[in-house]
């Protein structure tokens, strides 16, 4: 066996400059796939990490065995959210919550690093004044969702009014005082939603990557099959041929996978800067998890090897199988049936379906497109060849018919991206729904009985803080709101307020924050919030969907363009003798380049369009609204980038074509 491996190694090294170039292309393809694959896996780990770090802030009620009371609410400063956790210890000696070195005593507060910094930066009246307690420490990273998160943990006495406040309306705004047995908590529904979205994004990224990696392996085999068929002819057993091929593919793939891991490591700082959920990432979040990385490092060469075996089947079955090129058997319509079968399942899905099921169906739709692609390419090739008038289109059409899989490999990446773009483009909610809510009116629910007393106190606090504002009580029955409109004169007949601030719309952020600070603790356990604060989460979610879309599409495009470039280059290497002889016989290079362009663009147009439609179809069950401008813009940009990228990648290999055809005595190697 070692003799065989040695021979494979020598074949690989002895492939000459062009052989090495071919192996190099494969290694590059594998490296890019590996790096992106680790990224897509790491993203899941990273979201899981966030969910786990946030879990302690979602208290789980514990009944009698409670060791502490925990209340969580959201406060706001500028356009950011501050999570305020109030803790009252019932049983001393309990393990402190994550990120704190000890249990907080009443009158103490812990700040997250970002909150501490912001509290120093802003005037005390805008932020720091909300936390009159003694700053006792800094919350550790293990309790923060992201490095920029604003969190405060305050110690309270069990009988303080805050720890006895009534429930707020929306659980997203926080938790009422809850008796807890420990500080483990549970992942929030939002965190779980992000994890589900990350999983879908992973499928959207990973499937094209695997297809691409497999294509890279075929690429090695395609170049080698002639030589291996020769080995078979001189008496190598099928087992030996398989071993050698797999060895060669795996050697290349291992090199590529290791390079890809290093590449990912180098990219980590860049990737950690992607803002999701209101902040960027801890570098450790995106560091590849050791077991997962090892799994990827093991799986990639394995898949490449497997793909090589499949590609080699024909050589092994018959030594003459690849030496003699015959009309390939037409591909069966079964491939289309597979796609239709998967698509038939789609309408049964809905927004309520489990993320795992959706991911599986999406993955299957992807694979079905990949299965159908070559068949469609073959059909298109037949039409192109039949209708061709000039030599370039004839060459392109015949080539598509001859090897639809190879042509599909070139465009599959972009077609897959089309699927992703179609899916997301249709899914993106319209951004026009949010964003222009009133940011200047703070509201807080008040008990009806105390309404007038609290109104007076609010006015007093605001005037002490120098914030011009009109305070009024709205609502009826038990649900009374204290509405504080910042920037308006406190009373129509008063002239004490700053005249310049009288403009209704010009309530500046600083004044609103001063009002928030002044109103802090007015109603224990409640935060005065504006309509803009309340839709902050929605705005954030929309922004995140946009960011996620851009990330997924960027990955898809990277894969697509790299794959188009590599397949274009390798197809030139594979056919260099024929190309060279054609050029010797006077065929202009432009004709060959035109033919190469046509054999990419024709299937690209058909399959790209088709995939976009399939992607849209898959998105229908989940879409909130009809197609919107934002989604259409994404689609349009994708289509443009896709074509430009593939044309560019093809054009980039034109010098290679020139160089391989410049050899006046081409010989197959």
């Amino acid at each position: 066996m070692s003799g065989l491996l040695g021979l494979s190694w020598r074949l690989l090294r002895g492939g000459g400059r062009r052989g090495l170039l071919g192996a190099g292309l494969t290694a590059v393809a594998v490296a890019v796939s590996t790096a992106l694959l680790i990224f897509s896996v790491s993203a899941n780990v990273a979201f899981q990490g966030r969910a786990e770090r946030e879990a302690w802030r979602n208290p789980v009620a514990a009944g009698t065995a409670a060791v502490a009371v925990q209340a969580v609410r959201k406060d706001y400063v500028r356009d950011r959210t501050v999570t305020v956790v109030d803790l009252a210890v019932l049983k001393p000696g309990t393990a402190p919550p994550p990120g704190l070195d000890r249990l907080p005593a009443p009158g103490e507060v812990w700040f997250s690093p970002a909150l501490a910094e912001l509290a120093r930066e802003l005037p005390a009246g805008e932020l720091a004044g909300r936390f009159p307690e003694k700053v006792a420490g800094t919350i550790g990273d293990e309790a923060l969702v992201h490095p920029g998160e604003l969190v405060a943990v305050r110690g309270q006495a069990p009988d303080s009014p805050i720890m006895r406040a009534a429930a707020t309306g929306d659980p997203r705004d926080g938790f009422p005082p809850t008796r807890v047995a420990d500080f483990t908590g549970t992942p929030s529904p939002d965190a779980q939603a992000y994890q589900a979205l990350a999983l879908i994004a992973t499928v959207l990224m990973a499937v094209p990557l695997l297809v691409f990696g497999g294509a890279a392996a075929r690429l090695t085999v395609a170049r080698r099959d002639q030589r291996l068929a020769a080995l078979r002819l001189v008496g190598a057993t099928p087992g030996q041929v398989v071993t050698m091929t797999v060895a060669e593919a795996v050697i290349t793939a291992v090199a590529g996978a290791v390079a890809g891991t290093v590449l990912y490591g180098l990219l980590t700082p860049l990737l950690a800067g992607i803002e999701i959920g209101g902040g960027s990432w801890f570098a450790a979040d995106l560091w590849p998890d050791v077991p997962y990385t090892l799994a990827v490092l093991g799986a990639v060469p394995l898949l490449v090897g497997l793909s090589a075996v499949v590609g080699l089947r024909r050589v092994v079955v018959s030594p003459l199988g690849v030496a003699r090129r015959e009309t390939p058997p037409a591909m069966r319509v079964v491939r289309v049936v597979a796609l239709l079968a998967v698509l038939a399942v789609v309408p049964t899905l809905g927004a309520g379906s489990a993320a795992g099921v959706v991911a599986v169906v999406l993955g299957l739709a992807f694979l079905a497109i990949n299965l159908t692609g070559p068949w469609v390419v073959g059909v298109i090739g037949g039409i192109t060849a039949r209708t061709a008038r000039g030599p370039a289109r004839l060459l392109a059409g015949r080539r598509l018919v001859d090897d639809p899989r190879a042509a599909w490999r070139t465009v599959s990446g972009v077609a897959m991206t089309g699927f992703v773009a179609g899916f997301i483009g249709f899914l993106s909610p319209s951004s026009g729904l949010l964003g222009d809510a009133d940011a200047a009116t703070l509201r807080v629910t008040v008990p009806t009985a105390q309404a007038s007393q609290l109104t007076a106190e609010a006015r007093e606090r605001l005037s002490e803080a120098g914030v011009p504002a009109r305070v009024a009580v709205t609502g009826t029955g038990e649900s009374r709101f204290l509405a504080v409109t910042v920037g308006k004169p406190a009373r129509a007949d008063e002239t004490a307020a700053d005249e310049t601030a009288a403009d209704e719309t010009a309530a500046d952020e600083a004044a609103v924050d001063r009002a928030r600070t002044a109103l802090g603790g007015l109603v224990p356990g409640r935060t005065a919030t504006s309509a803009a604060d309340e839709e902050r989460f929605g705005v954030l979610l929309l922004k995140d969907v946009g960011t996620g879309t851009v990330v997924v599409l960027t990955v898809s495009f990277l894969v697509a363009v790299v794959s188009a470039g590599i397949t274009a280059a390798s197809s030139i290497l594979d056919r260099r003798q024929t190309y060279a002889l054609l050029r010797l016989a006077g065929t202009p290079l432009e004709v060959l380049n035109r033919a190469r362009r046509a054999e990419t663009l024709v299937p690209l147009a058909v399959m790209g369009g088709g995939s976009i439609l399939v992607g849209m179809f898959c998105a229908v069950p989940f879409s909130f609204s009809s197609v919107n401008i934002g989604g259409m813009t994404i689609l349009l940009v994708c289509v443009t980038l896709g074509f430009a990228g593939v044309i560019g990648a093809g054009a980039a290999s034109a010098p290679l074509l020139r160089s391989v055809t410049a050899d006046p005595a081409p010989r197959p190697d």
């Binding site: 003699r324 090129r325 015959e326 009309t327 061709a388 008038r389 000039g390 030599p391 004839l394 060459l395 015949r398 080539r399 018919v401 001859d402 090897d403 003798q577 024929t578 002889l581 054609l582 050029r583 010797l584 016989a585 006077g586 065929t587 202009p588 004709v591 006046p664 005595a665 081409p666 197959p668």
Partner: protein
Amino acid sequence: MTAVVLEGFDLVKRFGSTVALDGVGLAVGRGEAVAIMGPSGSGKSTLLHCLAGITRPDAGEVHLLGQRVDAMGERQRSALRRTRFGFVFQFGQLLPELPAEENVALPLMLGGTSRAEAVRRAREWFGPLGLGGMEGRRPGELSGGQAQRVAIARALITRPAVVFADEPTGALDQATGHDTMRLLVEATRGNDASLVVVTHDPQVARWCDRTVEVRDGRILTGAGTAAGPYPGHDARGYPGHDAQAHPGHDVRGHPGNDGPGSLTRILPGRNG
């Protein structure tokens, strides 16, 4: 005076420190078949490449019907190779994904002939070359000899002035090689084209009117008259034979045609 179609003067070509051609001259007459023989590395292929406008000689001139080939740009030489020359290589020149008839029609299509017309004219070649019924087959479905005959048809379909063949029988067995050479010589002659064959096989060379021996980049003096027995003068039946005259093929100022064997001469190199 014989009608010289293609002529190389004092051709010199170096690859690094290796001198592939060291002052070679060669003239090819109209309708003449010339074999260039020599061992591997003697420079015979380089000579063919220089004559065919594939490579540019470092010194010397190549004239096709009075036109300086060596002075042309790559684009012009490419067009010249496409229109005035035909090529038959050892193997691999047919596009595997194109049916035989489209392989033959391709040069015409490159020249702007409509596809239907090009394929129609391509088909005319199949019968005479013994390829009847093979029009729709792909190169992988043809035997080596059949593939070479398709290549011959492709080389001749543009009615070239000169056909260049580089080891055209190199990948064939002896009997098939014999048949292929006969067809190549007959078809070329039937189309009034000249033929330049590079080979190391004396059996192949015997089919030509004349053989020149190349050694170490020079033509061996006195080796130029070995015309072999010439089996096939009968070239009727080839599509080009009784077709209309091709413009530019007749050599102005050289109306005489004294017959193939006597048309050519070897020009000694300036230094030899």
